[in-house]
């Protein structure tokens, strides 16, 4: 009987000391800097500050630009995994905001738009961080325009990811034929869902409450 009690106590102590499941969030924000969308980049700051205000210690945030070739670490503008200590996390947030401010002031338009490359980079980054919740935010018109030689026709592995398209603006051609716009969104939806991810579109940047 005593042995059984000891075993139960030991098991309880072990379960208490066992590492718990992660509860953190990883966010990867892709910012379209192509010529057709460059004027919208200033709105990115709003999104990033919102994300910073919502993120807690041990959450990860990375901001990368979408340009001609986005599947590269060099495209990451800023990244941070917030410290366990709240005071350090606050400092990191302030530094992050400052970095983003500088980027917005100095950004220049890119000739092409490699959204898939950015997505692949985001998947790689977030998989390395092992967060409990993975979100990829795409701040773009979702019009992919690849330069010659770039191969992006490959399946995306998006199990456990939520992909949110933000501020998907309508192009001039969309106004002539709205089917283009709807078809573009539909294509991305099917691509994300085919990869096992969840797809969402938020165009009203004043109502970001449901985002994080």
């Amino acid at each position: 009987m005593k042995g059984k009690i000891l075993a139960v106590v030991f098991a309880a102590a072990l379960s208490a000391c066992a590492p718990t499941a992660p509860r953190n969030t990883g966010i990867y924000l892709l910012v379209d800097t192509s010529g057709s969308y460059d004027r919208q980049v200033t709105k990115t700051e709003q999104i990033i500050l919102f994300a910073l205000s919502r993120l807690q210690s041990e959450d990860s945030l990375a901001v990368a630009r979408i340009d001609t070739g986005s599947f590269s670490e060099r495209n990451i503008i800023a990244k941070a995994t917030f410290d366990d200590r709240p005071s350090i996390a606050n400092k990191q947030k302030r530094a992050f905001a400052s970095h983003i401010e500088k980027f917005i002031d100095t950004t220049s338009p890119a000739p092409y738009t490699d959204i898939t490359g950015g997505l692949l980079q985001a998947i790689e980054f977030l998989n390395e961080k092992h967060p409990a919740r993975k979100e990829i935010l795409i701040f773009s018109d979702m019009k992919e325009d690849l330069a010659k030689g770039y191969v992006r026709d490959l399946p995306l592995k998006l199990q456990g990811f939520e992909v949110v398209a933000l501020n998907v603006t309508k192009l001039r051609s969309d106004n002539f034929d709205p089917r283009e716009y709807l078809g573009r969104l539909d294509q991305w939806r099917s691509r994300v869902e085919k990869g096992g991810g969840q797809w969402r579109v938020i165009n009203d940047l004043d109502h970001l409450d449901g985002l994080l």
Partner: protein
């Protein structure tokens, strides 16, 4: 067998139903005695079982009441012993303080009395009387100057006047000395009066204490004799102590919650803000542990001071060890209070930092968040962080009272529950018996036709044989009588 087939024994379903009904009534009538016996047996068995259970519960209640009484008396005895012991200590202190210097007082009194006696003796000395021949001097003074021997008489007169004035001077001096002596006696009288008042007060205080001890001893004797009045008083007191201590503990819990709020946030800086143990944040657990340790230290301090007696081991320690323990627990408490004050300060700093960051992320310039009176909040938080651990020390007193009174209250609640259970079981037993009787009557209800026929037959048989003895009532009643009753 379906209803259709049951109603198909004759070509007419109604007739079939009537036949079935007659068959059923006859069958029930024939099985009536056995059915009644079965119902009576079942109801009696159930009623007896419930009655036994009720008796058993009542017995348990009786035992619990006895045990509760013993606990109450033991607690009351212990409490009275403590009170009487404390009173004896107070009397001892009073005697030591007031009557220890009684020899000194006695000496002072004796000296004062001796001085008074001496002064009194000196004051008894009668001053010299003025010369009694003043009339002769007056007569000489009145003789005319022309008479013979004028010169002689004048000289006599002068010398006599001089002697008189000297005598008067001596008299006045002696009287002044007597008055001075009497005046010198005044402080001694006052000293004696004050000393006697002081002694009277001391003795009065001891007498008062002895009266209090007498009263406590009477209560103690009542408790030792186990009188019902003493038990009632102790029980009532115990309930009052329970509710009062519960109230104070609730207040202390609120204080501990505030303390927790003060230190939980800065603890995240030490142990991390995201790590969890089970489903709780490690920072919260750490803050809670600090508060629990403070309460424990407070308990040990109170035990070492012998204010509470939750741990007899601590109370039984040698005095030297106890004093050391008092010092150690107090120092630990002081350190923890200082740590808490620091954490409270840290909390304010973190809060300001967080507010500044939030303002920056919102796009504010942050100047609106600057408060010139912020130091008041910070100082208040630090003060609370320092004081609350010491305030929580006193939780030990209501906790001890709560623990002791809880035993009685749980006992009283148990007695109440057992009594209610016993009553329910008894009522259920009686109800079961009555239900058995009711079931027999319900069984007889469809048999009213054969029972009526049986009654008529019995009446006619009784009228045809008038010589038959009258039933005594002890015999088993006829079925129709049973049905009627």
């Amino acid at each position: 067998m379906s209803t259709t087939s049951l109603l198909g024994i004759t070509p007419w379903p109604a007739l079939s139903a009537i036949l079935w009904l007659i068959f059923l009534v006859v069958a029930l009538y024939l099985a009536r005695r056995t059915a009644h016996q079965a119902i009576a047996s079942v109801s009696a068995a159930l009623a007896n079982g419930l009655r036994l259970a009720s008796h058993s519960v009542a017995h348990a209640e009786e035992r619990l009441r006895g045990r509760n009484r013993e606990v109450l008396l033991a607690q009351g005895r212990e409490a009275k012993e403590r009170v009487v012991e404390r009173e004896f200590v107070r009397v001892g202190d009073a005697v030591r303080r007031d009557l220890a210097n009684y020899p000194g007082l006695h000496r002072a009194l004796s000296e004062a009395i001796v001085r008074i006696e001496e002064d009194h003796q000196k004051a008894v000395d009668v001053p010299p009387e003025a010369p009694g021949w003043a009339q002769a001097v007056e007569a000489v003074a009145n003789i005319e100057a022309r008479s013979a021997g004028t010169q002689i008489l004048t000289d006599i007169h002068k010398s006599m006047v001089k002697a008189q004035s000297e005598a008067m001077e001596d008299y006045r001096t002696a009287s002044a000395e007597r008055h001075a002596l009497l005046r010198r006696m005044m402080p001694d009288w006052r000293l004696i009066q004050e000393t006697l008042e002081h002694v009277s007060k001391s003795v009065g205080s001891v007498v008062e204490r002895s009266q209090v001890i007498d009263r406590h001893m009477q209560d103690y004797e009542q408790i030792v004799r186990g009188e019902d009045r003493a038990v009632a008083v102790l029980s009532s007191s115990s309930l009052v102590y329970f509710f009062v201590s519960a109230l104070v503990l609730a207040v202390a819990t609120a204080g501990a919650a505030i303390n927790f709020t003060l230190i939980a946030r800065p603890m995240a800086e030490m142990v991390g803000g995201t790590s969890v143990i089970g489903s709780f944040r490690t920072a919260d657990i750490a803050a809670l542990v600090i508060i629990m340790v403070e309460i424990s230290m407070g308990l040990f301090l109170m035990e070492s001071l012998r204010i509470t007696r939750l741990f007899p081991v601590i109370g039984a320690l040698p005095d030297k060890m106890r004093v050391r323990m008092i010092g150690i627990t107090f120092v630990i408490l002081l350190l923890m209070a200082s740590v808490e004050a620091g954490l409270a300060y840290m909390r304010e700093v973190l809060l300001q930092d967080e507010l500044a960051t939030s303002a920056l992320l919102r796009g504010d310039d942050g100047s609106a968040a600057i408060n010139t009176h912020q130091w008041i909040t910070t100082a208040a938080q630090m003060g609370m962080g320092f004081i609350l651990p010491f305030a929580l020390v006193f939780v030990a007193i209501p906790l001890e009272t709560f623990v002791h009174s809880l035993r009685t209250v749980v006992g009283l609640t148990g007695i109440g529950v057992l009594r209610a259970l016993s009553l329910i079981l008894r009522v259920s037993g009686n109800g079961t018996r009555q239900l058995g009787v009711l079931a027999e009557r319900v069984y007889d209800l469809p048999l009213f036709v054969p029972l009526w026929i049986e009654m008529r037959l019995a009446v006619s048989a009784a009228s045809s044989q008038p010589q038959q003895p009258v039933p005594t009532g002890e015999e088993e009643p006829a079925p129709w009588q049973e049905a009627r009753s």
